[in-house]
């Protein structure tokens, strides 16, 4: 539509920030001609996040400018190269300019249509990072004059049609008048975990014109820069994946008959039992069946055992896990129990479900996945619901391996997993005359005509075999 109101409406569509996960938190992305404050303590990732947004724009053909008052350009080039961003190459292509200057000069030149103003125009810049706005205010303190100056500066930049990112030095919980002047405030911070490790977190404090996700969201620095893991509302799957099956068979002799044919698509199954009852073997047997026999994809999210141990266990039953991973039929995601961050794993799981579309997901173990939030029953419930929502949206089947503590009144660790999950498989042992027997029971399975009661099973050279005969 040419000009007029229609064009304005078009222009208000958010643009991708280029930071995975951040668009979901911001409610769509970066609105054009807005001023975004990136505030946080030293080392919280403000500059990196800002550069990532500018570089992402430049790579899409939208030129950007980085104005630095403190960090020399040479350092920015070096730090950006760590994430694969070649700022010098972008400068040579005319898509970026790193301007080293002083806060006073920056304000003078911008507010008077001076040299900086002309540089922005020459480049046709669309995104601008000012690192940091704190220096502009520091020159005169948080006075009425400083407020007017910053207000004028933001308006001048917006007037250039720029999306502006302004870094701001702020300790935890500190606010500033600048928060009132900008359109969006993103706060970056650290949180000390109970085991004395820092967790990086980000929160959108305000975002004019956008329905953003509130609360704190974990983020990491990876080889490609920052990735944000939205804490809630992670389910952004492209709709249920069309399946050729309604029930996913397990391939475990006797078990499919007990289940009434298999697990219904979209089910989350709790596989619970005390240590040594064969939970991991049962999970691996299903992975092998799905990937090697059914020709579907399977994903494993592992945190207690290492991939090496899991591969050895699988090999002892003749299941070539390593080969299935190499062939791209099994996706293996491992995080040591010591480093598990529930939101990060759920975020990766959401991505794998959306992009890779496995039919089967094995989580070993659920206790390990929820371990970082174990102190808070409400958060455990929220994460479990998120997981179940992901599985439902993807239309796959997930088996969550859970350790049942002997003598505990619940089937699960927190006492709520059995209620949230669509199905519960219980593994147990009992002893008769010095001999221990294994049993399996389908305790619950929604949308299925399953058997009741416990049936014996054994673990032989080919895996688990359940002694159940129909009829």
């Amino acid at each position: 539509m040419a000009g007029g109101h229609g064009k304005d409406v078009m222009d208000l569509r958010p643009e991708p920030t280029g930071v995975p996960g951040l668009d979901a938190v911001l409610g769509g992305g970066l609105l054009p001609e807005t001023a975004v404050l990136l505030e946080g303590p030293p080392g919280s990732g403000k500059t990196t996040l800002g550069i990532q947004v500018v570089v992402a724009g430049a790579r899409r053909g939208e030129p950007g400018v980085v104005v630095t008052f403190e960090q020399p350009a040479a350092q920015l080039y070096r730090d950006a190269a760590r994430f694969g961003w070649d700022l010098r190459a972008l400068e040579r292509e005319g898509l970026l300019r790193v301007v080293v200057t002083s806060p006073g000069v920056f304000c003078e030149e911008l507010l008077s249509d001076g040299l900086l103003h002309r540089r922005l125009q020459e480049l046709r810049a669309r995104r601008l990072l000012v690192d940091s706005l704190s220096h502009v205010v520091l020159e005169e303190g948080e006075t009425a004059g400083a407020r007017r100056r910053v207000f004028a500066l933001i308006n001048a930049l917006r007037g250039h049609g720029l999306s502006v990112l302004l870094t701001w030095e702020a300790g935890s919980g500190e606010g500033s008048f600048v928060e009132y002047l900008v359109d969006t405030v993103i706060r970056l911070d650290y949180q000390l975990s109970p085991d004395n490790r820092y967790r990086r977190l980000l929160s959108v404090i305000k975002s004019r014109g956008q329905a953003h996700l509130t609360g704190w969201h974990a983020f990491t620095f990876g080889p490609d820069g920052v990735t944000v893991y939205p804490a809630v509302g992670v389910v952004e799957l492209p709709g249920a994946v069309p399946r050729t099956w309604e029930l996913l068979t397990t391939g475990v002799p006797g078990l499919d008959a007990m289940l009434g044919g298999g697990f219904p698509a979209g089910s989350t199954i709790l596989l619970s039992g005390p240590a040594g009852t064969g939970r991991t073997i049962l999970g691996l047997q299903m992975v092998h069946h799905v990937a090697a026999v059914l020709g579907e994809k399977a994903a494993i999210f592992l945190n207690e055992e290492t991939p090496e141990v899991l591969t050895q266990v699988a090999a002892s039953f003749g299941w070539p896990l390593e080969r299935l991973v190499a062939e791209g039929r099994v996706h293996l995601d491992f995080t040591s129990l010591l480093e598990v961050d529930t939101d990060l794993v759920l975020g990766r799981m959401a991505r794998v479900l959306a992009e890779w579309q496995p039919a089967f997901v094995l989580v070993d173990s659920l206790g390990g996945l929820l371990h970082p939030v174990a102190e808070y029953q409400g958060v455990v419930a929220e994460k479990l619901h998120t997981l179940r929502q992901l599985v439902r949206a993807a239309g796959c089947v997930a088996v969550l391996v859970n350790r049942q503590v002997l003598g505990q009144p619940y089937l699960s660790r927190f006492g709520l997993e059995e209620a949230v999950c669509d199905g519960v498989l219980l593994l147990d042992t009992f002893k008769v005359a010095q001999r221990r027997y294994r049993v399996i029971e389908v305790y619950k399975l929604r949308q299925a005509r399953h058997t009741t009661g416990a049936y014996r099973f054994d673990i032989g050279p080919a895996g688990i075999r359940v002694f159940y005969v129909e009829g």
Binding site: P72, A73, A74, V100, S102, G104, E109, L115
Partner: protein
């Protein structure tokens, strides 16, 4: 002796001009005042101003009329840039 060599010979006469050229070469997008440059390289503004005048005469910096004061940018002369790059690389090796 070529023009670039003559320029560099004059640059090395003062530690301030050396510091300025090194900083400008690493920060080619700089646009700042003498006072701002003095802060960047950690020198007194008066001696930086004097050194900038000399570098402007040599064609290594470009004085620009700012809104309120003179601003400086790095040269865009390809021959000079190449010569300075080689000279700095040599200095860093020794």
């Amino acid at each position: 002796m070529g023009r670039s060599e003559e320029v560099l010979k004059r640059v090395v006469r003062s530690p301030v001009t050396v510091a300025l050229v090194r900083f400008l070469h690493r920060n080619p997008g700089l646009l700042d005042s003498a006072e701002g440059l003095a802060a960047w390289i950690g020198r007194e503004p008066a001696e930086v101003e004097k050194a900038l005048e000399e570098l402007a005469r040599l064609g290594l910096v470009e004085p620009l009329a700012g809104a309120r004061r003179t601003l400086y940018g790095y040269t865009r002369d390809e021959n000079l840039l190449e010569a300075v790059g080689k000279w700095l690389a040599g200095m860093e090796r020794t």
